[in-house]
Amino acid sequence: MIPTVPQPAFAKWCYRAYVTAFFIYLALPLTVVCVFAFNNSVFPSLPWEGFTLAWFFGTEAPFIGVFHERAIVRSIGTSAFVATWVSGLAVFVGTCNAFLFVRHDFRGKAFLYVLMLLPLIIPGVILGISILVFSSSIANALEDATGLWFDGLRPGLLLVILGQFSFITTFATLVISARLQKFDPSLEEAALNLGASKWGAIRQITLPFLLPAIVASAVVSVLMSFENFNTTLMLVGSDSPLTIAMFDKLKQGSTPVLNAVSLLLIMVSALLGVLSLLFQGRKA
């Protein structure tokens, strides 16, 4: 059970074998995705036709690499645009929420906290359709009243940003609150005693203390925004973010270009993920 309690050798080996099998199960799909990005064949499957970098840099059909596939490159740009906005908004609202929940006591606080957690347990598709229905009904009402068009409220990037923001903010709030709870308020009081203004004390003392959590939640928000599929699917207009563009391509039939994009995504996600852990784990 634990190292200090002796166990039969056979049971120990069975357990180890299971853990090993589990990690193989975990690594296998990602490994094959990466390996087939280098297969010199127009289909990501066996037999192995030799090593090639064409799926990254190729320019001639059918070997058009990621960096020359216009739809993919454009969708990466779209995803980056969406992620920047989502992350910025979520971190801002998340920081406000953290101060609200940690520093203030008010009637209905517990209720508001539960409400804040709700986006975690609403399926992404439902968040997507509810925002779609709501914004369309506003657009319809406005158009009936004014005779003008309100394209921003129709499926498109604005709705994608709002849809992702609606649940990523909860994560940002939780990460930043956790750090703010560890803050020693006497530090802020000391700053006030030394003549700082309230806002000055927060800016000089509290925010630098929160910075690791703020950066970590920004990174996590970017990751979640990049990989979100369900909510985005319902709200997407003519500009598709990366996951939607990849899904459209996958429906037409898979080519190793998708493996190449996936490999890049895996590398970037792993890097950002480790980065967010480093920031979150940094001591005060």
Binding site: I2, A27, L46, L100, F106, P123, S130, S166, S269, A270
Partner: protein
């Protein structure tokens, strides 16, 4: 002692959260409900009624898909718990230091990678021309190519894979906080492995188990990619039906009713899970 500036500060902090929750969560769901009880009687003419819900219960394809989605999600949750618990226990209790960090990180990496990429990996492994099929052929176990994709087992493999990290991570966190000496004391007092599991480890890990189960169930129920890509033409999933009603058929009234039913089911299960395990949403989900 509430000064005017701090009261102003309080309202300034309250504004963003209220704006967010009211405009993006509450009003849209109220709107969704209103659309779900509208019946189309003519072009741009609607009446209030429950015809969309009646359509759901009268059409076996709809409610069967709903039930199927629910049952498979529950099964995926149970499987994930059974498969994930020993792993979490291993990481939290049987490893130390660097090994522990490495294993934990290895668990986290697939969790950060897009769901689409993970599902795509399984497609490469399982399809007729895929890795497993070729492996079996070269080992001489089968004669021709085998199709392992497009069935319910493939969906289950994909669902468990997509969500197992959401089970393992909270379990590791709760098991980590269990003091080893409690387990030792259990042995000293003559407990067996099973009784210690049942009376010490599992009760302590309960918040993690519940939060893991809630997240996994939710993710499976609301999953769209895995059933569409790994399941065949006959394996319908309820989110796929919602998508069809909204985007393909443009029947938003029926789609909204479907959405509300799915939301109702997920809330019901989450509520029941919390009640049965005597946990609160704040305690289980509120840990980052």
């Amino acid at each position: 002692m509430v000064s005017d500036t701090s009261r102003l500060g309080f309202y300034l902090l309250l504004a963003p959260i209220l704006l967010w929750l009211v405009v993006l969560i509450i009003l849209p769901h109220v709107g969704l409900f209103i659309v779900s009880i509208s019946e189309k009687v003519g072009p741009r003419e609607y009446e209030t009624g429950f015809a969309n819900y009646a359509a759901f219960f009268n059409e076996p394809l709809y409610w069967r898909t709903f039930a199927r989605t629910a049952i498979m999600s529950i099964l995926a949750t149970v499987l994930t718990l059974i498969l994930g618990f020993p792993i979490a226990y291993y990481i939290a209790k049987l490893t130390r230091g660097r090994t522990k960090t490495t294993l934990f990180l290895m668990c986290m990496i697939p969790f950060w990678v897009s769901e689409l990429v993970r599902t795509f990996g399984w497609m490469i492994l399982l399809r007729e021309t895929g890795v497993f099929s070729n492996l079996l052929q070269s080992l001489g176990i089968v004669d021709g190519p085998v199709e392992m994709l497009y069935n319910d087992a493939a969906i289950m493999v994909g669902l468990v894979y997509t969500s197992i990290l959401f089970m393992v991570v909270p379990l590791v966190t709760t098991l980590d906080s269990l003091d080893d000496s409690l387990i030792e004391a259990g042995y000293d007092l003559g407990g067996t492995s099973t009784s210690i599991m049942r009376e010490i480890v599992i009760p302590h890990a309960m918040p993690g188990i519940v939060s893991g189960c809630i997240v996994v169930f939710m993710l499976s129920l609301g999953n769209y990619l895995t059933p569409i890509l790994l399941g065949g033409k006959d394996s319908l999933w309820f989110t796929g039906m919602i998508y069809t009603q909204f985007i393909t058929r443009f029947n938003w009234e029926l789609g909204s009713a479907f959405g509300f039913l799915l939301l109702g089911l997920s809330s019901l299960v989450v509520f029941a899970g919390l009640k049965l395990s005597r946990q609160s949403l704040t305690d289980t989900m509120g840990r980052a």
